[in-house]
C-alpha cells in the first residue's frame, strides 16, 4: 500500500512541480502588469514586492518537486531563503529612501482631483 502510494506520488510529482512553476511565472507577469499600470511609486512598490516573494516561493517549490538529487534541493533552499530575507528588506529600504527624499504618496481617487500629487 505504501509502495503503491509512492508510485502514484512519483508519477504525479513532475506534473505538480511544472504546474507550480507555471503558477509562479504567471504571478510574476501579474505583478509586472501591476508595476506598469499603477499610478504611484508606493503602489508600484506594493505590487512588485508582494508578488515577487510569492512568485519566488511558488516557482522554487515547483523546482524542488522536480529536483533530481538532494544537493539541488539544498541549493534551491539557499536561493529561497536568501530571496525571502532580502526581498522585503530591499522593499523597505526603497520605501524608506523614497520617503526620506520627499516623494509624497498620491492621496485621493484617480481622476477626481490632483490634490495629493503636489
Amino acid at each position: 500500500m505504501i509502495a503503491e502510494a509512492l508510485e502514484y506520488w512519483n508519477a504525479f510529482r513532475p506534473v505538480l512541480g511544472s504546474a507550480l512553476m507555471l503558477v509562479g511565472a504567471v504571478l510574476a507577469v501579474i505583478g509586472t502588469v501591476g508595476v506598469l499600470r499603477f499610478p504611484d511609486f508606493y503602489t508600484r512598490l506594493h505590487a512588485a514586492s508582494v508578488t515577487d516573494t510569492a512568485a519566488a516561493t511558488l516557482a522554487i517549490l515547483g523546482m524542488v518537486l522536480l529536483a533530481p538529487s538532494f544537493a539541488v534541493v539544498f541549493k534551491l533552499a539557499v536561493v529561497w531563503l536568501f530571496l525571502f530575507l532580502t526581498g522585503p528588506t530591499s522593499s523597505h529600504a526603497l520605501a524608506n529612501a523614497a520617503h526620506t527624499a520627499g516623494l509624497q504618496p498620491m492621496i485621493g481617487r484617480l481622476g477626481e482631483s490632483d490634490g495629493g500629487d503636489e
Partner: protein
Amino acid sequence: MIGAAALALIVAIALMLIRALSGPTLYDRVLAVNSLGTKIILLLGVIGFLTGRPDFLDISILYALINFVATIAILKFFRYRSFQVSLTRRGKEGS
C-alpha cells in the same frame, strides 16, 4: 509546461524592462531593476530544469547575492552621494 513558465518569465522581464527604462523617478528604476533581478533568478532556475542541467542554480545564487547588494548600494549612493558613509546611527558626540 516548464517551457510555458520560462516564456511567461521572459514576458515579465520584457515588461519590467519597460518600467526600468521609462520610470518617472529614480526609485521606480531601482524598484524595476530589483524586481528584474528576482525574475532573472527564477528564469535561470527554470532554464536549468528545462535543459536538464540544474547546475544553473549556482549562477542564480550568485545573482541573488549581487542583486541585493547592488540595490542597497545604489540607494545609499543616491542618499549620501558617496559610498564611504557608515550606515550605523551616529552617537551623541557625532551630531
